[in-house]
C-alpha cells in the first residue's frame, strides 16, 4: 500500500449547471489500498491511544522507583529537592520525576534509532529510488510485523517506510513535549508514554533494518549464515587497518565497495566495533568484527588501527584524543557526531587525503559515504606506511609505571565494578602482571579509573598490555547476523512455543556494561541452549556469546545451529535487528494463531503476554537505546531482565505474586474472571547475579496458556535450576502448579511434598483462554 498527497486543481470548468473558476481541492493523504485484512482498532496510535492497555499492565506490574538523584534541575525554579514526599516548584513529586526521566531516556533511545533509520532510508532512496521493493526474508510474507501492527500499513517499497518514519517522528515530538515543566504530572501516565516511545523505537529499528536488508544484500533470514571472525586475532595488523566504530553501516559499506572496486580487499583490513561491525559482516563477511563497545579504548591503545572511522551511537566522544595519541587520523561521518572537526564533504578527496596523511588535519567530517570510502582507503594506505614499526602499545614498562601508583584507591572507587586495581598495581610493581591481566576480561573499558588517577596512569593500557599475548591471539567464530525470522520457521515453532513445549525464547541483547565480564552472557546463553530453549542474540551480547570456548576449543556458534527452533542460537545482527525479535513474537500471534495484525496492537500484545514465553535478557544494558528497546518489549508483554547495573535505569516494573487479585484475567470462552497465578511475575527486573537471572528467567517464561505438558517442561527447568543455584526447591511452586498433570514426572514426589506443605489445592489456578481484554470475550455466562 501507499498513502499519497492528492491535489486537484481546476482553473476553469463549464457545464450546463454553471461555471467553476480557480477550484483547488487538496487531500493530505489517501490510501491506495490492496491489503484485504480489515483495519484494526488502533492504527497510527497517538500518545494516548494505548493508554488503557498500558494502565492494565502497570496495575499488575507496578513501578518500584530507585531515584539516582533526589533533585530536579531541569528548569530555573530548581534545583528542587524531591526527597520523600516533597514536591518541586512545578508540583511534581519524586515518583513522577523518576518516570519522567525514564520517559526522557526512552525518547533519547527511540530518537536515536529513528534518526539512524531516517538517515539510512533517505540515503538508500537517493541511491536506489523510492520504488525498490522490500525483500526482507526468504519464505516470508509478513515483512514488517512491527510496522503492520502499529501503523496498520503493509509496506511494499522504500517509500512506504517513509510514512512509518514520519509517524514515529511526529509521535516522539509529542512525547518529548510531555516532559516539559508543567506538562504531564502523573507517574503512571509518564510510564505509559515511555511504553509508547518503546513501541515507536521498534518501528524505527524495523525501518532501518529492512531497508538495508532490501537494498544492500544483507542476509535474508538464512538460518546458517556463514561464520566470520571476531577478536584482535581476526585482524592482520601487518596490513593497513581501518577501524569503523558505531552503528550506521553506510560509510563502512562505501569503504568496502571502494576496496572491492579497486581490488584492494586482500591488502587492507577493515574491522568494526559495536553494531557497525555486525552490519559490515552482514554486508561482506570478509569485514572483521573486532569486538563489543567496551573494546574501543583497548583496541586503539594497542596501536593496531591506522585510521578510525566513526559513524554514530556508542562511539567514545574522546576518540579524537585517543587517535591522536597513537598518530592516527579520524574521519567522522555523521552530523550527529561532528567531534569539532571541519566539514570537508565538499572538498577534493585528494586534498583531504593529503591533509590527513601528512597530519595537517587530525580528522575531518565527511557526510557523503561514498567520499568516505575513497578518502578512507587512500588515507589508510598512506598512514600505514608512516606507522610501520609503530603499531604497538605506547607503554613498554608496566612495572615502572606501576611504581608511581600511590595506592590511593581512587581508581577502584571510580570503577563501575570496583575492580581491585590497586592490588594489581602493587603486584605489577614487583613484576607480577598476572593480576592486571586477570582484570582484562572483567573491565568494561570505560576509562573512569584513568580520569580518577591522580598520577595519570594509563590503567586501561596497562591492563591490556599485561594480557597482550592472549589478547592479540584471541579470535572467535561468530555467525553473521541473519536478520529476520522467516514466516516458515514461525509456522513450525508457533505451536510448541505457545503450548509451552519449547520452554521459551530467550533474547540476549544489549550493551557490554557487565558486572563480572562478558563470560556471563555466554554462560547464561548456554544454560538455556542446553535445555532446548530458543536463544536469540543481537549487538554486543551476540559478540560476547562468541567469546567463550569449551575444553575442545568450540564456542556456542559452533555448537548450536542458527535456526529459530529448539536449541537454536540465532544471531539476528545489530541493534536495529532487535526489531526482528519482537517481530518474531508478533508473527507467532499472527501467523500461527491467525490473530489479526493490522493496527491491532492490544490484542497482539495480550496474546504475547499470555501465551508466548519470551524473555529478554540485557545483561550489560547501558544506553538509552537499551531503555527504549526494553520499553517496546514491555508494551508487547515481554519481560526484560537486566544485570545489576540496569537498576540504574532507576525503576523496575514488578509484580507481587502473593496478591491474588493482580493475577486475575478473563477467560475468553465465557467471560469469567479467573486466577491464573503470577505468570509472568515481572515485566522489568534487575538481577544481582547471573545465577539469579538464570533462575528468574526460567520462571518468567511461564504463561497462563501453557498446556499441562508445557507447564511441566517449564517447571522442570525452573526447579532444576533453583535446586542447582539456591540449593533448595523454589518456595513458590504452589503458585505455578495448576493441577497434578503440571508436575514434572521425574520430580513428582518432591514437588507433591512441597505442595502439600503449602496447602495447595488442585485447580484453584485456572487454565482459561486467557486475556486481559474484555472485548475479546467470545461468549458470556
Amino acid at each position: 500500500m501507499s498513502k499519497r498527497d492528492l491535489k486537484l486543481k481546476v482553473d476553469e470548468f463549464s457545464s450546463p449547471l454553471g461555471k467553476i473558476k480557480g477550484l483547488e481541492i487538496e487531500i493530505g493523504k489517501i490510501y491506495a489500498e490492496d491489503w484485504d485484512e480489515p483495519m484494526g482498532p488502533t492504527p497510527w496510535p497517538t500518545i494516548g491511544t494505548l493508554r488503557e492497555w498500558d494502565r492494565r499492565l502497570l496495575k499488575r506490574y507496578k513501578p518500584f522507583y530507585m531515584p539516582f538523584c533526589d533533585l530536579c534541575c531541569l528548569c530555573t525554579f530548581g534545583k528542587c529537592d524531591l526527597t520523600g514526599d516533597k514536591k518541586g516548584a512545578c508540583g511534581l513529586n519524586m515518583a513522577a520525576q523518576q518516570s519522567r526521566i525514564v520517559l526522557i531516556a526512552a525518547c533519547i533511545g527511540a530518537s536515536t534509532h529513528t534518526a539512524h533509520a531516517r538517515h539510512m532510508l533517505d540515503h538508500l532512496i537517493e541511491e536506489y529510488g523510492r520504488d525498490i521493493p522490500l525483500d526482507v526474508a526468504l519464505n516470508t510474507n509478513v515483512e514488517a510485523p512491527n510496522i503492520r501492527l502499529v501503523c496498520g500499513i503493509r509496506p511494499k517499497t522504500l517509500k512506504d517506510l517513509e510514512d512509518a518514519l514520519d509517524y514515529v517522528e511526529t509521535q516522539i515530538v509529542q512525547l518529548v513535549a510531555a516532559t516539559h515543566t508543567g506538562q504531564e504530572g502523573d507517574n503512571i501516565d509518564f510510564e505509559s508514554k515511555a511504553f509508547h516511545a518503546g513501541m515507536l523505537d521498534h518501528v524505527a529499528m524495523e525501518v532501518a533494518d529492512i531497508s538495508q536488508i532490501s537494498t544492500l544484500g544483507l542476509p535474508k533470514g538464512e538460518p546458517e549464515t556463514s561464520l566470520t571472525d571476531l577478536g584482535y586475532g581476526a585482524i592482520d595488523a601487518s596490513k593497513p587497518v581501518i577501524m569503523c566504530i558505531g552503528h550506521n553501516v553506510l560509510p563502512s559499506v562505501d569503504i568496502i565497495d571502494y576496496l572491492m572496486g579497486n581490488d584492494l580487499f586482500g591488502q587492507i583490513e577493515v574491522g568494526g566495533l559495536c553494531c557497525t561491525a555486525h552490519d559490515m559482516s552482514r554486508y561482506d563477511k570478509r569485514a572483521k568484527i573486532i569486538g563489543p563497545i567496551s573494546w574501543q579504548l583497548r583496541f586503539i591503545r594497542a596501536g593496531i588501527p591506522d585510521l578510525i572511522v566513526v559513524d554514530e551511537q556508542c562511539i567514545r566522544t574522546d576518540v579524537l584524543q585517543e587517535a591522536k595519541a597513537i598518530g592516527v587520523p579520524v574521519i567522522a561521518t555523521s552530523e550527529k557526531s561532528c567531534l569539532g572537526l571541519q566539514d570537508r564533504t565538499g572538498d577534493d578527496p585528494e586534498k583531504i587525503v593529503e591533509d590527513l596523511s601528512t597530519g595537517k588535519s587530525e580528522g575531518v567530517l565527511i557526510i557523503n559515504p561514498r567520499k568516505v570510502g575513497e578518502v578512507a582507503v587512500k588515507t589508510v594506505i598512506n598512514v600505514s606506511k608512516q606507522r610501520q614499526g609503530k603499531k604497538a602499545f605506547l607503554i613498554e614498562d608496566i612495572s615502572k609505571l606501576a611504581k608511581s601508583c600511590r595506592a590511593c584507591g581512587e581508581c577502584v572507587r571510580a570503577c563501575p565494578n570496583n575492580l581491585p586495581i590497586v592490588d594489581a598495581m602493587k603486584a605489577a610493581k614487583e613484576g607480577d602482571y598476572s593480576q592486571l591481566a586477570s582484570l582484562y576480561d572483567l573491565c568494561v573499558g570505560c576509562g573512569r579509573c584513568e580520569s580518577a588517577c591522580p598520577v595519570n596512569l594509563p590503567i586501561i593500557s596497562m591492563i591490556t598490555k599485561a594480557d597482550e599475548k592472549a589478547a592479540i591471539m584471541e579470535k572467535y567464530p561468530i555467525r553473521v547476523g541473519r536478520g529476520a525470522i522467516q514466516d516458515v520457521e514461525i509456522r513450525e515453532v508457533g505451536s510448541p512455543i505457545v503450548f509451552g513445549e519449547i520452554p521459551g525464547v530467550i533474547a540476549m541483547v544489549g550493551c557490554a556494561n557487565y558486572p563480572a565480564g562478558g563470560g556471563d552472557v555466554a554462560r547464561i546463553a548456554e544454560e538455556f541452549l542446553k535445555r532446548r530453549f530458543i536463544v536469540v542474540a543481537s549487538g554486543c551480547s551476540a559478540m560476547n556469546i562468541a567469546m567463550t570456548k569449551d575444553e575442545e576449543g568450540l564456542n556456542l556458534y559452533q555448537k548450536y545451529p542458527g535456526n529459530f527452533d529448539a536449541g537454536g542460537l540465532v544471531n539476528v545482527g545489530s541493534c536495529v535487528s532487535n526489531s526482528h525479535i519482537t517481530g518474531a513474537a508478533i508473527k507467532i500471534a499472527n501467523i500461527f494463531a491467525k490473530r489479526p495484525l493490522r493496527g491491532n496492537y492490544e490484542e497482539i500484545a495480550d496474546y504475547i503476554l499470555n501465551r508466548v514465553g519470551a524473555v529478554g535478557i540485557a545483561w550489560g544494558a547501558m544506553s538509552q537505546k537499551a531503555a527504549s528497546i526494553a520499553a517496546g518489549c514491555w508494551r508487547l508483554g515481554i519481560p526484560v531482565v537486566v544485570g545489576p547495573h540496569g537498576a540504574k535505569y532507576r525503576r523496575m516494573l514488578l509484580g507481587r505474586k502473593e496478591n491474588e487479585e493482580d493475577w486475575k484475567i478473563f477467560n475468553a470462552r465465557d467471560g469469567q474472571e479467573v486466577y491464573v497465578g503470577p505468570a509472568p511475575e515481572h515485566l522489568f527486573y534487575a538481577a544481582e547475579t547471573a545465577e539469579e537471572a538464570i533462575v528468574m528467567t526460567a520462571k518468567l517464561v511461564m504463561r497462563p496458556n501453557d498446556t499441562n505438558k508445557g507447564r511441566a517442561v517449564k517447571l522442570s527447568h525452573y526447579i532444576d535450576l533453583h535446586q542447582r543455584y539456591y540449593g533448595s526447591m523454589p518456595d513458590d511452586l504452589q503458585l505455578y502448579v495448576r493441577r497434578l498433570q503440571d508436575i514434572p514426572f521425574t520430580m513428582r514426589d518432591e514437588v507433591t511434598k512441597v505442595l502439600q506443605d503449602s496447602g495447595w489445592v488442585e485447580d484453584r489456578i485456572a487454565s482459561p483462554d486467557p486475556t486481559l481484554l474484555d472485548r475479546l470475550v467470545r461468549r458470556r455466562q
Binding site: F64, C408, R413, E688
Partner: protein
C-alpha cells in the same frame, strides 16, 4: 573484591537527606536489638568479604544463632547458607525485597508483620545505593542501616569509610552482640 583498599564509589555524593554515621558498634547493635521487627539483608558479595568469622556468610550465620534479627539472603546466596547447614535463612531477590519493604501492608518473610528496621550488608555498592534510595524516598517510616565498610548516603545510618582491620573489629562486636543467646 579486595578487602585491603578503600571501597565505595563516586556515587557516594549524597542528596539533601543523607545517612548519619554510626558512631560505634555498640550503637549499631543497640539499634538493632531495640527494633521490634529487624531484618538483616545479606547480599551476593558476602562470600568475598572476609570477617573474623571467615566471611560475611559465616558472620550472618552466627547472627542467626542469637535469634534477634531475621536474616535474608539476596540473589542466589541462600545456596551458600544451606551448604553451611544454615537452613533458617530466608531467600528473596533484592528487587522483590526492596519492593516489599516499602509496602506498609507487607507482612514480612514469615508472615508475622512488617519490618521496622532493614540492615544491609554485602551487596554490590551501587545496587545497595539504589535500593536504599528507593526506601529513603518511598518508605519513610522504615529505618535502614548499612553495615558495609563504606558510606552509603541513602541509608538512615551508615558506617563511614573504614580501614579493613577497624571494620572487622566493629563487625565482630555487632555480630557478637546479636549472636549471643538472649
Amino acid at each position: 573484591m579486595s578487602g585491603k583498599m578503600i571501597l565505595g564509589q563516586t556515587a557516594e555524593i549524597p542528596g539533601p537527606k543523607k545517612a548519619l554515621i554510626l558512631p560505634s558498634a555498640e550503637v549499631a547493635a543497640t539499634m538493632i536489638k531495640k527494633a521490634k521487627r529487624p531484618l538483616l539483608v545479606v547480599g551476593s558479595e558476602a562470600t568475598k568479604i572476609t570477617t573474623k568469622d571467615g566471611d560475611l556468610v559465616d558472620s550472618a550465620i552466627r547472627v542467626m544463632k542469637g535469634h534477634k534479627i531475621a536474616v535474608v539472603a539476596t540473589a542466589h546466596l541462600a545456596g551458600e547458607f544451606r551448604k553451611r547447614k544454615a537452613d533458617g535463612v530466608f531467600s528473596m531477590p533484592l528487587m522483590n525485597l526492596g519492593d516489599r519493604l516499602r509496602d506498609t501492608k507487607w507482612t514480612g518473610l514469615d508472615g508475622k508483620g512488617r519490618y521496622d528496621l532493614a540492615v544491609f550488608v554485602g551487596l554490590p555498592y551501587y545496587l545497595e545505593w539504589l535500593v536504599l534510595s528507593g526506601l529513603k524516598n518511598f518508605a519513610g517510616d522504615l529505618k535502614t542501616i548499612s553495615l558495609d565498610r563504606t558510606y552509603q548516603p541513602n541509608a538512615g545510618w551508615s558506617m563511614g569509610l573504614m580501614v579493613e582491620k577497624e571494620w572487622k573489629e566493629v563487625m565482630d562486636k555487632i555480630v557478637s552482640s546479636l549472636g549471643e543467646a538472649s
